[in-house]
Assembly symmetry: C2
Homo-oligomer: 340 residues x 2
DNA sequence: CTGAAAGCGCTTACAG
DNA sequence: CTGAAAGCGCTTACAG
């Protein structure tokens, strides 16, 4: 059947109403499960819908109602498994409310992110879950408010005027440092990478605070390449500082993966020659050997929570801004030992 | 500003037209970059749009035009990094055409998949890229055709009546088997897992054919758990058959990860005690040690290609069904040696 | 509980 | 090049 014929043959609510010998208004009420309609009438209308193969046209409804039942999700990097889990939580929770999510990848580029927000606005999304690209200016928040666009920031934040769902990165750093300290480590490095944003800052500050609280040197920061493929080959950077660390905390899952590989390449045994703690604890952390002791941040739950907050925000735009900061948990496995 | 005020204040094309002292039709033409409008008029209209803060309402346009500029993407498992890369290719290519993608996760459940397709239909998607859940009946294709819904199947196929973009799994198996044979292996196992679908069948058949072509025993199939976390602990299954394999081909990236970990746990050295070949070659394959020799399938490129085909299909619904089957490439790294 | 009517914001012939 | 008019498929008061 050609698209021409398809267009012609679309069955509308009016067709359904006629077939069931009711008015269009009544058919509309049945559609939206209003209690105003008698059960016998309702049954007749529902039968008519089936007979005619009626398809609800959300787009048309929305023109009237100003609700698209679409929400947007913008992440900085789709292929990072951490964001994939986040997204899966968002999709799950939004899907459960009958809504649908438009996905976009900002690629950590601010201009692309603006373009995507604009496009989503033209599509009339009811709101967006945004993990802001590094370098996003705080005044994006004002623009979004001027648009009347409900937004929840996730994992990274640029403004206190918008809802935020994130992680207690400082608490996670404390867990990692305290655990290593309990094993006798004092020279602990923090291996970071990637662009600068709030979560980066909070991890670094959290690391320093936790180290200072123990009266350890808080400045053993190692900067690694952003690309996973290049991290392993940069492992020597761990030992390029004046102080030789006996333990390393990893900025995230990618750093942990890369360093685990790189240490293997150097002939060093993790947990014996050097202790390693991961951060984020993505599902495939289970498959690294030795099993990686790691600070879990629960990306799926974060995504679900962000979606839930967005739905509330849409329903009630005048709520004051909220902050939900999840605790981390330390999963002790096998990658840490006493200092060599 | 309350949502009430927002609704009131929406500026429409008619407002723009008045502000620029032209008719609504002219403003519409400017919007869609028609050459019918003089450049001076165009400039005036564009200025009016800026002055008033006009936002194009795609939803309203679509009611007239029967094109939503939305396409759907349904994958069976969002958190599998293989599908994340696929999705990233789809999003990239669709985004480049100015369209937007609605994402959904079938969780490998056929009823959920039906529900998602129905929901997408109600949202008026112009078409969908579908990686069918295991167990999808071939007659889904007829239903979709009756709906007039353009679809391209990706990675897995259920019907020859719909476009398909996939991988030459049989060719990939041949590359793996031939390479192992060249090293002297004859007892080669194929470690599989997960639900049954076309890609599963093609891999298994491809393995058997490749083994038979070498006159090797084609029946060393090892069935592993679906969950990554359980694979490592099932590594002993590799040695539970009458014939002890000297090399193992992995069904996919998850199996490779799991077995690499499990072999480590058994104290076996990959490449010396047992050779291992991965399949799919997702980005973080780089971080496994020893570096994994792997058959690459290029999920991002597959996603881009599928998106491109869908766009063509939407533009030209009467095209005959097409099949695009990408070649694999063998990336030789360090996980294979001569038989012990 | 039901019907008739207006309107959401756009596009598309049709005249000029 | 421009204007007036109809219509896409729905929802929502407003009367009955």
């Amino acid at each position: 059947m050609s698209s021409q014929e398809r267009k012609k043959s679309r069955v509308t609510l009016l067709d359904v109403a006629r077939h069931a010998s009711v008015s269009r208004a009544t058919a509309s009420l049945v559609l939206r499960k209003s209690p105003l309609v008698g059960s016998e009438t309702r049954a007749r209308v529902e039968q008519a819908m089936r007979d005619l193969g009626y398809v609800y046209n959300i787009g048309a409804a929305r023109l009237r109602v100003e609700r698209s039942q679409i929400i947007g999700a913008i992440v900085p990097n789709l292929t990072n498994p951490f964001f994939a889990e986040l997204l899966s939580g968002i999709e799950e929770a939004i899907g459960a409310t009958g809504k649908v999510v438009i996905l976009a990848n900002s690629g950590e580029r601010v201009e692309r992110q603006s373009m995507l927000l604009q496009r989503m606005r033209e599509h009339g999304v009811d709101g967006v879950v945004l993990c802001p690209a590094a370098g996003t200016e705080p005044d994006l928040s004002e623009q979004l408010a001027a648009w009347g666009m409900p937004v929840v920031q996730v994992l990274r934040h640029i403004s206190v005027d918008m809802d935020y769902v994130g992680v207690d990165y400082a608490g996670g750093m404390r867990q990692a440092v305290d655990y290593l300290a309990s094993l006798g480590h004092e020279k602990i490095a923090f291996a970071v990478h990637g662009p600068f944003h709030s979560a980066y800052r909070e991890r670094v500050d959290g690391f320093r605070d936790a180290m200072l609280a123990k009266a350890f040197d808080p400045e053993i920061l190692i900067h690694l390449p952003a690309q996973l493929g290049e991290i392993a080959d940069s492992t020597h950077l761990l030992f390029a500082k004046a102080t030789q660390p006996t333990a390393v905390i990893c900025f995230n899952h990618l750093v942990a993966l890369g360093l685990a590989a790189g240490l293997h390449d150097c002939g060093l045994t993790i947990g014996r020659d050097l202790s390693l703690i991961g951060f984020d604890d993505v599902a495939d952390a289970e498959a690294i050997r030795p099993r990686l002791t790691s600070v879990s941040t629960g990306p799926t739950a974060i995504g679900e929570m962000a979606a839930r907050l967005l739905v509330e925000r849409i329903a009630n735009p005048d709520l004051p801004p909220r902050r939900v900061v999840n605790d981390t948990t330390l999963s002790v496995r096998q990658s840490c030992g006493r200092p060599a």
